[in-house]
Amino acid sequence: MVATAPALLKEMYREMLFYRRFEERVNQAYQKGKFAGFCHLHIGQEAVCVGVQQNLRPTDYVISGYRSHTQAIAKGIEAKTVIAELFGKDGGNIRGKGGSMHMFSKEKRFLGGHGIVGGQCPIAAGVGFAIRYQKTDDVIVCYLGDAATNQGQFFEAMNMAATWALPVLYIIENNRYGMGTDIRRTTSIDRLSKRALAFDMDHSEVDGMDLVKVYEHVGKIIPEMRKKPRPYLLEAMTYRYRGHSVSDPATYRTKEEVKSYQDRDPITTLGEWLKANGHSTDEELKSFDKDARAKAQACEDWADESPPALLEMAWKHVYAEDN
């Protein structure tokens, strides 16, 4: 039984679809040699991003790791500036200084885009600390991967967040692998949400391949966090269809395993549901796909047109006064 309004579901469907097409374009651009460096795609995990961030207000914060193109866009960073960033252009989200791993927007309250596994966790606690200090009812969402839950600073951060009741929603995107390593080989527990037990912290799991489940589950958690500030650890069971990064062949997984997730693809699933319940048609979904492709294409075109990063940017922003 789905409580969410069909119109909103459609909107979220389109959003997921755009991220899928966008990331596919990013991948093609990389394969074409249009940029270099590391590039981690979110393909397959779109339902987590959309389902979670649809529950946020503009004043809420999001912080993440290096697999964060879609999360940055969902927080309001223009998609074209994300791809321009990958291309090392002046139009890039941070003017070509950061590349794929480092998206930031102070205005949109997207706090990065970080390259050090686990490093964002205590930073998120600090934002939660500031939220309480400033007496607002905002929250911060902090994404981390399954393998990041083996990082000491994640535990230190949870301990502070739990002890001081900081409104931080830690979301483990459990895509089952840290690079080529099955998470079951690097920890002793079955459910990573149990990490919270060490701090008597609220926690749960959600099917990260199901947009509706993610959206509605997080929709219950966040209002509670606003009412009574406290941290929460949510484990979203998901999967990345592609390799760890665009250069990883991902031979450590079987075709069957990948297919078993693609069979539950969040976009297809929602599309089927929309049709089955008479909220949409094949034609409409096709047109959505056309739009998504066109929009992704437009982003890349814009990025192509953007001038290269300005040389002087290399020496700016080392210190606050170099602005």
């Binding site: 205590p122 930073i123 600090g126 600390f129 200090y133 502070m160 002890t163 940017m313």
Partner: protein
């Protein structure tokens, strides 16, 4: 002018800045209810309450990172490391995050944060509690590093550090907390990056900061008795370094000794010696000498510790060397 201890000067700086700006807060181990392991934050919990003065868990990486996040969201944290020997647990947050955030965000996220605490050897604390970290921390762009030697400098510089929009490393010393010095009653600031001539002289330039400054002042008195007039320069800020002040002095004295309690290899003194040599090459009458802690991990027994640490005698010997005496 009041005569106060270093710890009071540091406390006054934090108190004045917290009164001035409600976004400034203090966090660290034992800083609140215990008034600070070394009583630097004495009375601050009573004055500002638990919302502004926080006892942290023993999670240096964690609360350093918490400070970075709080700074990103508009606050101005002062993070106390009980000592920098434990601060190394926060290097990932300080070096990979605090120092790089402004650059990585193309200037969007400034990180106004002060990481402060005692650095270097105190007295008979052994290998794991005696390391001096200025060499490692000054190497990193994005950080500013301050290491004061007097209550006056400490107060004026800590106030500037708290108002600065960059991550600041503020290096103190356990054995200087009780050091007394004059501090004006009215408010004052000391600019970051400006050194100070602690003793004017014409025969040789001694460069030192923190504890070592006092060693050099003592050596200078002894040298005076020997008829050698030493100028003693205290950079006060190590990153950025006030090179001009140093060069001026060396161009005048033609001789230079740098006293740096940390290990010699790739040290701040090595940096200064090289910069002085390059910039005053033709004015130098002798290669720049350096006095350091010997290249050992710190021993416990008092006479062993004294033997490996810089001393007045070692400074005097170095001066004799650069004067070919």
């Amino acid at each position: 002018m009041a005569m106060i201890q270093m710890r009071e000067a540091l406390g006054q700086a934090m108190i004045e800045e917290m009164e001035r700006d409600a976004n400034v807060f203090l966090m660290g181990e034992e800083v609140a209810q215990y008034d600070g392991a070394y009583k630097v934050s004495k009375g601050m919990l009573a004055k500002f309450g638990p919302k502004r003065v926080w006892d942290s868990p023993i999670s240096e990486g964690g609360f350093a990172g918490l400070g970075v996040g709080a700074a990103m969201a508009g606050l101005r944290p002062i993070i106390e490391m009980m000592t920098w020997n434990f601060g190394i647990q926060a290097f990932d947050q300080i070096v990979n995050h605090a120092a790089k955030m402004c650059y990585m965000s193309a200037g969007q996220f400034k990180i106004p944060i002060v990481f402060r605490g005692p650095n270097g050897a105190a007295h008979m604390l052994g290998a794991q509690h005696s390391q001096a970290y200025e060499a490692m921390l000054t190497n990193v762009p994005g950080l500013k590093v301050i290491s004061p030697s007097t209550p006056y400098d400490a107060k004026g510089l800590l106030k500037s550090a708290i108002r600065d929009d960059n991550p600041i490393i503020f290096l103190e010393s356990e054995i200087m907390y009780a050091l007394k010095g004059e501090v004006p009653d009215e408010e004052y600031l000391i600019p970051i990056g400006k050194g100070d001539v602690k003793r004017a002289g014409k025969d040789v330039t001694l460069i030192a900061w923190n504890k070592m400054l006092h060693l050099c002042m003592e050596a200078a008195e002894k040298l005076a008795e020997m008829g050698i007039d030493a100028e003693v320069i205290d950079p006060r800020t190590l990153q950025p370094l006030d090179e001009e002040l140093i060069f001026e002095s060396v161009r005048k004295t033609h001789r230079c000794v740098v006293v740096d309690e940390s290990w010699s290899f790739a040290s701040v003194a090595a940096q200064i010696a090289d910069r002085v040599t390059r910039s005053c090459f033709d004015e130098l009458d002798a290669p720049v000498e350096r006095v350091h802690c010997d290249f050992v991990l710190m021993p416990y027994a008092e006479h062993l510790e004294q033997a490996v640490m810089p001393s007045v005698d070692k400074v005097i010997q170095a001066v004799k060397d650069v004067m070919y005496l």
